[in-house]
């Protein structure tokens, strides 16, 4: 069969395939970038939610500690095991420079962290706990707030 | 030429199969996408309402209004006016009218033990249960043998013919099935009459 077209069939096909490949890979790469920024945003949101929740527990415990003598309480909240189902995170409770209680929720792999501060009347014991198995405690003897279990 | 016609069918077939594959992929893909995170959560409103109702019940418990409502009787059952928000109002009705009665609807019921089970009495069940998320809050309080019985539209203390106030223990000291009060004395020997629960469903 002879061809009256200027371009050979094989080249046409090759061009078609090449163009398709370029387009598809371009699509995949940009969607990859989009997904990654999406992931950053969602993980930040999750960390903030967890952080503000921990904050409200600290506040509640602070109030509770003055409601009676030798108050002891533990809450085991239902936080997700991992951020965006793939990254482990830690919750850290510590004292900040101006005497407030600070909490920091951090994921290493994504290199993200959120920090909160709250003024508490009850003492705190600096401690860290891993995501998934979180416990926030109000301990007696001495009366203090900690994460990860009383001594 | 016969070849060309057959080739036409072949092209058509190929096109159709290709289209079918793409459409099925699209349908499958869209079904698999979890759009839950993007839907607007109704929870926030119900949550706020829940906190509001909790505060209302706290205020009512502090001022003893809950107790008076539960012991406000008409014919041995709870007085229909016991939580009314239109004059004449009881203490509980007042708290409700100043807080949630304006922009929400609610049902109030009392759970109480009788014959070893929990029965429910209505305090205000005029509003039918809706088809939307509701917030339920309950409060438990203890009734003692010396708690007074109230009656009438404004739930005033009831007095007997000698002018002494009537207590819940007077109406049911546990001996026989006294019909004078819907509650039941759980223990005649102790000052504890019964622990009851006031339950409010609001939306």
């Amino acid at each position: 069969m002879t061809d009256d077209r200027a371009v050979s069939i094989a080249i046409t096909h090759a061009l078609t395939i090449a163009i398709t490949t370029v387009l598809l890979s371009g699509l995949l790469i940009s969607s990859g970038a989009l997904l990654e920024s999406q992931e950053q945003r969602v993980s930040n949101q999750q960390l903030s939610e967890i952080g503000s929740d921990v904050l409200s527990y600290l506040h509640d415990f602070d109030r509770m500690s003055s409601s009676g003598e030798d108050v002891q309480s533990t809450v085991t909240p239902n936080y997700p095991d991992r951020i965006v189902d793939s990254y482990a995170y830690t919750i850290e409770l510590r004292e900040t420079a101006n005497g407030y209680a600070g909490i920091e929720i951090r994921t290493h792999r994504l290199d993200q962290s959120v920090q909160y501060e709250i003024a508490l009347e009850t003492d705190i014991q600096e401690s860290t706990v891993r995501g998934g198995d979180v416990e926030i405690n109000l301990c007696k003897d001495p009366q203090e707030i900690t994460v990860g279990g009383c001594d | 030429m016969p070849h060309r016609r057959e080739r036409g069918q072949a092209y058509a077939l190929e096109g159709i199969i290709g289209a079918v594959i793409i459409v099925s992929a699209l349908v499958l893909g869209l079904q698999a996408v979890d759009i839950a995170p993007w839907t607007d959560s109704d929870d926030r409103q119900t949550e706020e309402l829940r906190v509001e109702v909790e505060d209302v019940l706290d205020a009512a418990q502090d001022s003893d209004a809950l107790r008076k409502t539960v012991t406000c009787l008409a014919d041995g059952e709870i007085h229909p006016n016991a939580a009314s928000t239109s004059a004449p109002m009881t203490a509980f009705g007042e708290v409700l009218s100043e807080t949630i009665a304006g922009n929400h609807q609610y049902r109030i019921q009392v759970d109480y033990p009788v014959d070893g089970e929990i029965a429910t009495a209505a305090v205000d069940t005029r509003a039918p249960l809706p088809n939307q998320p509701t917030a339920t809050v309950s409060r438990q309080i203890v009734l003692t043998d010396s708690d007074l019985v109230y009656e009438g539209e404004t739930c005033d203390p009831r007095t007997d013919f000698e002018g002494d106030p009537v207590t819940v223990a007077d109406l049911d000291d546990g001996d026989d099935n006294n019909d004078d009060i819907y509650l039941e004395n759980q223990d005649e020997d102790s000052a504890v009459f019964a622990v009851i629960r006031v339950r409010v469903v609001a939306w």
Binding site: L28, P80 | E14, I22, G29, V33, P37, D58
Partner: protein
């Protein structure tokens, strides 16, 4: 001539199954995109919302129990004397608290998966002096002091129907004297060299360990007395006694004026336990604490 006929072949260019392959590739791209999208956009709505309730639930429940225990305590006094008097019998009150705890837990378990239990674990002994006529004379016997030599006053409660009559003076002496003067139109007292006046016809006085309020028909005044040591309470009555009631309790008291009960509980201490799937709570709680009721 025999030609091979392939179903989707074309003679004018061996494009093979190009369209079919392209369709498959696009489908694969769509599915791949969906899979990638699903793995990363998990719900930012952490189920923390429901849990944030559990601690405040525990808080409200224990506050409700505290209130109930107060009512139980007063009812215990009423059982013995016919009056709402803040004291309870050592033997009986413990049983009543157990009964309450049992009924409470039984009822709460029908509504949520939680248990709450209360137990009487300790108490301060003392004496309570009260009026035993429902609305007649204020003090039955003109004996003074009403309470003598108390370590502290857990409760001091007076209420008047409509104060009429002369001036009533209540003297709380402990080192220095604090005199409350009740007249038909005000209540006046001195504390730490400051003179405080509460205007209006007196209705109610309620102090818990020296802190509380005075209520008149016009105003509501906060009272904060300094910490008293060994205390006596004296009533100085006018001839035309006002109508009303009083109940004064004292810790570890030496002597009191009838009608009064001695050697009973004036401030009980409880152990409170609350537990539900995500929160556990334990606390020791005194019924009366300075400034709280």
């Amino acid at each position: 001539m025999v030609r091979s006929r392939s179903a989707a072949g074309s003679r004018s260019g061996e494009r093979g199954q190009l369209i079919l392959i392209a369709a498959i590739v696009v489908a694969a791209a769509i599915l791949g995109g969906v899979v990638l999208l699903n793995t990363i956009h998990s719900s930012p709505d952490v189920s923390a919302q429901t849990d944030a309730q559990s601690v405040s639930d525990a808080d409200r429940t224990t506050a409700g129990i505290h209130s109930d225990l107060g009512d139980l305590f007063m009812a215990s006094g009423t059982d013995e004397t016919g009056f709402p008097v803040p004291y309870a019998d050592e033997d009986e009150f413990g049983d009543e608290v157990d009964e309450y705890s049992e009924q409470y837990t039984e009822l709460i378990s029908t509504n949520r998966s939680a248990i709450a239990s209360v137990e009487l674990v300790d108490w301060t002994e003392g004496t309570v002096a009260y009026s035993n006529e429902s609305s007649d004379e204020f003090v039955d016997n003109e004996q003074n002091p009403i309470i003598e030599d108390a370590d502290a006053l857990p409760r001091l409660h007076m209420s008047f129907e409509d104060y009429e009559g002369g001036d009533l003076t209540v003297v709380i002496s402990s080192g220095t004297n604090i005199e409350f003067e009740f007249t038909e139109n005000h209540v006046e007292y001195d504390v730490q060299a400051t003179n405080i006046v509460c205007d209006g016809n007196p209705r109610e006085v309620d102090l818990v360990y020296g802190a509380g309020y005075i209520e008149t028909d016009e105003s509501y005044c906060v009272v904060e007395l300094p910490d008293l040591g060994s205390t006596d309470v004296n009533f100085d009555l006018p001839n035309d006694e006002p109508d009303g009631q009083y109940a004064v309790s004292g810790e570890n008291v030496g002597d009191c004026a009838d009608p009064c009960e001695t050697g009973e509980i004036v401030n009980p201490e409880f152990e409170l336990i609350y537990q539900d799937p995500s929160v556990s709570f334990e606390s020791e709680l005194k019924l009366f604490k300075r400034g709280e009721r």
